[in-house]
C-alpha cells in the first residue's frame, strides 16, 4: 500500500497547523487555566522524552534484546520514582535561582563560566545526532509510504515548519524566563497523540494480526525461539547500563531538564509526575510486543523499527497506517522543538554571552530574543545537515544511541551537586573531560567514522561506558579532594546541598535603596532594562520601592541575581551583580542570616517528625517566650543590624517586628536610635531610669545588655548583642502620685493641727466681739463688733473644714454607722438644708429618684456629700436655672447624679478637681476642700465618683457629678 505524497504532506502540514492552533489558543487564554496548569498536562508534556527512540526503535530493540527494550522506560521511570531524592531538590534550586538548563545549574554550583561552556559543548555532541535521527525518522517514514517522494525535500519542509513553530511559540516575550504554556500544552497534546496512536496500532496488531488476544498468546507459545529470545537474559551489565543511561537522561538531557524544571508550574505537579510519567511509559511499552509479533507474522519486509507505521499498510488499513504515521511525526517534532529551545538558551548563555554581550544602549530583551531565534534555526538546520551528510542511515542511528550514553557523564556531577559539597569546579571539569574524552574517542569516533583510531584491547561498548564513568568519578573526587574550593564555591555548595539551609550573606551593600540599585545597574544594562528588572524583583518580593532595610536590600539583590540568571545565565548574572552591587565588606561573608534560616525552617516545619519536630517545638517555645516577654527584647548582629524585635518593643516604639527586623539600628529613628546607640557603645551593662521624650511625653526606660558569645561551632558563627528595655513610666508616675499624696496628707495633718490650735483663740475673739456688740450702744462700735463676728465665723468655717478633711481620711470604719440609707430621703434633706441659705442664688431642682434606691452606710456622710455637691452646683449655675438630681438603680449599683447648667469643667482641670485646696472660685469664696472631702467620704461609703460635662454643648455644657454605690438588696443582705 502506498500513498500519494500530497496526502502525506497535507496530513503532516494539517497536523502541524493543529499544533499551531493549540499553542495559539493557549497563549491567548482561551483554554481555562485549570486545564493548562493541570498536573496531567505537565506529565504528558514530559512524555516528550518518548521520541522516535521510543516510538520506532522500541520494536527493533524488543526483537534484539527481549525485555531489554524496557530499559529506557525503566531508567527514566526510576528517576521519577526517586524524585524526592533527585528531582525535587533540583526543582527547588532551579525555581529559586531561575536556572533553565543543566549548564546553568552546573555553572551555578561550580561557580565557573567554563563549567557551563564545557557542559554546553558536550551537550551539543550528545544531542545533535538525536536531532538528526528525528528528521531522518520522519523522512524515512514518508518515503516508505510514498516511495516516489524525495526524502530530502520532505526533511527540508519538516524542518522549516518546526523552525517556524519553535520561533513563534518557544521564544515568548524574549526574556527567556517565563513559562511557555502554549508550548507545554502542545507538547502534552503531542504526547497524547503518540500514546493513542501506538495503543491504537497495538490493538490493531492484536485484532487484525491475530484475531484476538488469546490467539496471539497461542501463536506466541508456538514460537519457542521467539519466547526464548524475549526472556533470555541480556549479557551481564547491559540492561543495568541502559537503565543508568536513561536514568541520567531524565536530568542530563536538555529536553527533559527544560520540561521537568523550567516548565514546571507547581511542586505538586512533580509529585504526580513521579508516578504519572512511569505509568505513561508503561502504557507506551504495552503495545510494542504485539506490534512486533504482528509484523513478524505478516512477513513485513520493512525494517522492524517502522512496524508501527507499516503494519497498517501490510494489513491494508489506510487508517491505521496514517495513525501510525501521525504518532511517529508527533514523537519526532515534539523532541526537536524542545531540544532546540533548551539548547538555544544554553548556547546563548554559555557560548555567546561570555564573548559577546549587548551594550547598555541596546534593547537587551530584543537582542536576546533575536539571538535565541537565530540559534533555534541554526540548531534545527544543524540537525538537518547532520542528517544530510552521512551516506547511510545506520550511522545516524548508531551515533544517536551512542550519543545518549554521553549524557551519563553528567551523572556524577549532578549527584555531587546535591550530596557532596566538597566537590569543586576543578574536579568537575577534570572528571567530565576525562569521561567525555573516553566516550568520544572510543565510542563516538569509531561509530561516526567507521574507523578505530584507538583501541582498548577487546573492550566492548558496555565496558568502555563503565570505564569512562569510573574515570570520571575517580578524577572528580581526587581533584576535588586535592584542590581548594573558592569561597564562592563553598557558598554555592551550601546552597545546593540538600542537607544545608540556604544561607544569605549578611554584609551590607554599597547601594542603599532600590533607586540606587537602578542607578548602579544602569551602567551595564541601560536605564530601561535596569528599571524593569529592579521593579520586577520588587514585585516578586512584594516589596516597597522605598524599603531600604539592609535585609530587604539583600533579598532584592538575591532576587535580581536570580532574575538576571534567567535572562543572561548564572555566570554572567553573578559577575554583573558582584561588580555593580557589591557588598561593603567581606568580613561577615559567612555569617548566617538568622531570619532567613528561621523562615526556611518555618516553611519546612510540616515535614519535621520525631526528635526534629520536638526540637523545633522547643525552639518555637523559647522564641515565643522571648516574643511575649513583657520586657522589650531586641538583639543586634555585629553590624548593628536588628535580628530580633519582640512584641513589647513593638508597643514601646511603635515599630512593628516586620519593619524592624533587618533594619540597621540607625534606621529606627530618634529618640530610640540615640538611646540604644549610646547605651550599646557605653561601658555599663545596665542603666536605670533614663528619660526620653516620645511623641511629646516623657518616658522612663531602664536598659540592660548582654553580649552573645561567639559559638565554637564552625556552622554557627552568629554573635552580637541582646538588649532589654524596661519601661518604668507607669511605675514612675505611680511613685510621683504617691509622693504627691503623701505631701498633701502632711499638709492636711499640719492644717488640722493649726486649725485646732487657732480654733480656741478665734472662739475667744468671737465671744468678746459678741459681748461688745450686745453691751455697747455705740453704733460704730457695734458695727465693728458685727464685722469681727462675721470674719471669725468665716475663719471658724475654714478651720472646721480643715478639721473635717483631716478627719475624713482617717475615719474609723468600726465606728462608722452602717444603716440602710434611703437615697431619695437624703436628697430631699440635702435640698432642704441648701434652701435654708437665703444668700445663694435662686435655682430650681429637678429630682428623679427611684424610691427603692437604698445603700448601706452612714446617712450623715451621704448627706454631707450631697450638700457639698448641690452647693457647688448652685454656685456654678446661673440664677433661675435648674439643677437635675437623679437617683437610679443600675444592675447592682445605685447611681446618683447631680448636674447643673453652668460653664462645665474644662478638660485641663478635670483630673485636679478632687485635689485638696484646688478651687475655681474667687479667692476668699472657697476653701478648695469641698470636693476633696466629697471624694474622701464617697470612698468611705465604698462608692466611686466621676465628674464630666453634663451635655455636649460647646458653651455652658454644665457639670455633672456621678456617684456610684453598691446597692442595698434586702433579700441578699438577709441571706
Amino acid at each position: 500500500m502506498t500513498f500519494e505524497l500530497s496526502t502525506l504532506f497535507a496530513l503532516g502540514v494539517g497536523y502541524l497547523i493543529i499544533l499551531f492552533g493549540i499553542a495559539y489558543i493557549t497563549e491567548r487564554g482561551w483554554i481555562p487555566e485549570r486545564v493548562v496548569r493541570h498536573p496531567v498536562v505537565y506529565v504528558l508534556s514530559l512524555g516528550v522524552f518518548a521520541s522516535v527512540w521510543s516510538y520506532y526503535a522500541a520494536t527493533g530493540n524488543a526483537f534484539r534484546d527481549g525485555y531489554g527494550y524496557l530499559a529506557p522506560f525503566i531508567g527514566i521511570s526510576m528517576a521519577f520514582l526517586l524524585s524526592p531524592l533527585l528531582l525535587r531538590p533540583i526543582l527547588n534550586l532551579t525555581k529559586t535561582y531561575q536556572l533553565s538548563s543543566l549548564a546553568d545549574l552546573l555553572s551555578f554550583r561550580y561557580r565557573s563560566p567554563w563549567a557551563g561552556t564545557l557542559t554546553t559543548l558536550v551537550m551539543l555532541l550528545v544531542v545533535m545526532p538525536l536531532l538528526s535521527l528525528q528528521i531522518q525518522a520522519v523522512a524515512t517514514t514518508v518515503s516508505l509510504l510514498s516511495p516516489d517522494a524525495s526524502e530530502t525535500t520532505l526533511a527540508i519542509t519538516f524542518c522549516l515548519l518546526i523552525t517556524l513553530f519553535s520561533i513563534f511559540f518557544g521564544t515568548g516575550k524574549g526574556s527567556g524566563r517565563e513559562r511557555h504554556e502554549g508550548l507545554v500544552m502542545t507538547i502534552a497534546f503531542e504526547s497524547l497523540v503518540k500514546l493513542v496512536a501506538l495503543l491504537a496500532v497495538g490493538f490493531f496488531a492484536i485484532y487484525k494480526g491475530f484475531g484476538s488476544l488469546d490467539l496471539m498468546e497461542q501463536w506466541v507459545r508456538e514460537q519457542p525461539e521467539l519466547l526464548r529470545r524475549i526472556k533470555e537474559p541480556a549479557p551481564p551489565g547491559t540492561f543495568q547500563i541502559m537503565v543508568l543511561v536513561f536514568f541520567s537522561a531524565a536530568v542530563a538531557t536538555p529536553q527533559m531538564f527544560y520540561m521537568t524544571f523550567h516548565e514546571n508550574n507547581h511542586p505538586r505537579a512533580l509529585s504526580v509526575a513521579s508516578w504519572g510519567l512511569p505509568l505513561y511509559f508503561l502504557l507506551l511499552s504495552l503495545p510494542v510486543l504485539p506490534i512486533l509479533w504482528a509484523g513478524l507474522r505478516s512477513g513485513a519486509l520493512s525494517p522492524m523499527e517502522y512496524y508501527p507505521v507499516t503494519l497498517g499498510a501490510y494489513y491494508d488499513s489506510e487508517l491505521f497506517t496514517l495513525i501510525g504515521f501521525i504518532g511517529g511525526m508527533s514523537a519526532a517534532s515534539g523532541l526537536i522543538i524542545v531540544i532546540t529551545l533548551a539548547l538555544s538558551t544554553m548556547c546563548l548563555n554559555h557560548l555567546i554571552l561570555p564573548v559577546w554581550q549587548p551594550s547598555a544602549r541596546q534593547d537587551i530583551y530584543r537582542w536576546l530574543l533575536w539571538k535565541r531565534r537565530a540559534l533555534i534555526a541554526a540548531l534545527i538546520w544543524g540537525g538537518f545537515l547532520f542528517y544530510y551528510m552521512p551516506s547511510d542511515d545506520q550511522s545516524i542511528r548508531a551515533v544517536s544511541s551512542i550519543g545518549l550514553i554521553g549524557s551519563l557523564q553528567f551523572l556524577p556531577a549532578i549527584v555531587a551537586l546535591l550530596y557532596w559539597p566538597k566537590g569543586n569546579k576543578k574536579g568537575f571539569m577534570a572528571g567530565l573531560a576525562a569521561g567525555t574524552a573516553i566516550w568520544f574517542v572510543f565510542l563516538v569516533l569509531p561509530v561516526a567514522s567507521g574507523t578505530n583510531f584507538f583501541t582498548l584491547g577487546s573492550m566492548n561498548t558496555r565496558e568502555i561506558v563503565v570505564l569512562s564513568l569510573i574515570c570520571n568519578i575517580a578524577l572528580f573526587m581526587m581533584v576535588s579532594l586535592l584542590t581548594r574550593s573558592s569561597t564562592e564555591e563553598r557558598i554555592s555548595a551550601d546552597i545546593c546541598s540538600v542537607d544545608n539551609l540556604r544561607r544569605q550573606r549578611r554584609a551590607g551593600l554599597t547601594a542603599s535603596s532600590p533607586q540606587e540599585f537602578i542607578a548602579q545597574l544602569t551602567k551595564p544594562l541601560g536605564e530601561r532594562t535596569a528599571t524593569r528588572e529592579v521593579m520586577q524583583a520588587l514585585r516578586d518580593l512584594n516589596m516597597d520601592k522605598q524599603d531600604s532595610r539592609p535585609q530587604a536590600l539583600r533579598q532584592l539583590r538575591s532576587r535580581l541575581e536570580a532574575n538576571l540568571s534567567g535572562l543572561l545565565g548564572p555566570a554572567i548574572a553573578h559577575d554583573l551583580i558582584d561588580r555593580f552591587l557589591p557588598f561593603t565588606s567581606t568580613k561577615e561573608s559567612v555569617s548566617a542570616d538568622v531570619t532567613a534560616i528561621e523562615s526556611r525552617i518555618e516553611a519546612y516545619r510540616s515535614n519535621l517528625s520525631g526528635m526534629a519536630a520536638d526540637l523545633d517545638n522547643l525552639r518555637r517555645y523559647h522564641r515565643q517566650i522571648l516574643m511575649d516577654l513583657p520586657l522589650g527584647v531586641c538583639s543586634l548582629g555585629p553590624d548593628d543590624q536588628i535580628i530580633m524585635w519582640n512584641h513589647a518593643m513593638e508597643t514601646l516604639t511603635g515599630i512593628t517586628t516586620e519593619e524592624a527586623v533587618g533594619m540597621h539600628l540607625s534606621e529606627i529613628g530618634n529618640p530610640w536610635y540615640k538611646l540604644l546607640n549610646q547605651f550599646l557603645h557605653g561601658e555599663t551593662a545596665h542603666q536605670h531610669k533614663l528619660t526620653i521624650n516620645v511623641n511629646g511625653g516623657k518616658r522612663y526606660i531602664s536598659l540592660h545588655k548582654a553580649v552573645i558569645e561567639k559559638s565554637t561551632s564552625r556552622r554557627i558563627e552568629q554573635d552580637g548583642i541582646i538588649v532589654l528595655l524596661e519601661d518604668l513610666t507607669e511605675t514612675e508616675l505611680l511613685e510621683e502620685e504617691l509622693a504627691h499624696s503623701e505631701r498633701l496628707a502632711s499638709i492636711g495633718r499640719l492644717a488640722a493641727g493649726v486649725a485646732h490650735e487657732i480654733g480656741n483663740p478665734i472662739t475667744g475673739i468671737a465671744c468678746l466681739a459678741q459681748n461688745i456688740r450686745d453691751e455697747t450702744s455705740n453704733d460704730e462700735l457695734r458695727n465693728m463688733a458685727r464685722q469681727i463676728i462675721e470674719q471669725t465665723d468665716r475663719t471658724s468655717r475654714i478651720v472646721q473644714s480643715l478639721v473635717n478633711f483631716a478627719h475624713s481620711g482617717s475615719h474609723n470604719k468600726v465606728d462608722q454607722r452602717h444603716e440602710v440609707v434611703q437615697v431619695a430621703a437624703c436628697i430631699d434633706e440635702a435640698i432642704e438644708l441648701i434652701s435654708l441659705n437665703k444668700k445663694g442664688k435662686h435655682v430650681h431642682f429637678d429630682v428623679h429618684c427611684e424610691p427603692n434606691a437604698r445603700i448601706l452606710g452612714d446617712s450623715q456622710q451621704l448627706l454631707q456629700v450631697l450638700v457639698n455637691l448641690i452647693n457647688n452646683a448652685r454656685d456654678a449655675s446661673p440664677a433661675e436655672s435648674t439643677i437635675h438630681i437623679d437617683g437610679e438603680r443600675i444592675a447592682a449599683s445605685i447611681q446618683i447624679s447631680v448636674a447643673d447648667e453652668g460653664s462645665g469643667i474644662p478638660e485641663a482641670i478635670r483630673d485636679r478637681v478632687f485635689e485638696p485646696f484646688f478651687t475655681t472660685k474667687e479667692p476668699g469664696e472657697g476653701t478648695g476642700l469641698g470636693l476633696a472631702l466629697v471624694y474622701s467620704l464617697v470612698e468611705n461609703l465604698g462608692g466611686h465618683i466621676d465628674i464630666m460635662n453634663a451635655t455636649t454643648k460647646r458653651n455652658n455644657p454644665g457639670a455633672k457629678v456621678v456617684l456610684s454605690f453598691p446597692c442595698y438588696d434586702e433579700t441578699l443582705n438577709k441571706s
Binding site: I74, L81, R88, S274, L279, L289, R502, R600
Partner: protein, 58 residues
Amino acid sequence: MYIPPSTLIFLVFSYLLFLLSVEWSMQPHGAWYRPLVICFVVIALAAWSFREQNADDL
C-alpha cells in the same frame, strides 16, 4: 534531607518486589506480560507513596 516515610516504604517494597519477582516474571512458560504487571504494581505503590505530600522547601 527529608524523605517521607511513605517514600521509604515504597523504596523498600520495590526492592523486595524486584528480588522476589525476577524469577517469576521470566519463567519460560509464564505469560509475556508478567514484567509489565510488576511495573504496574510498583507504579501503583508509587502513586500511593507520592499522594498529597508537603513540599520539601529546603
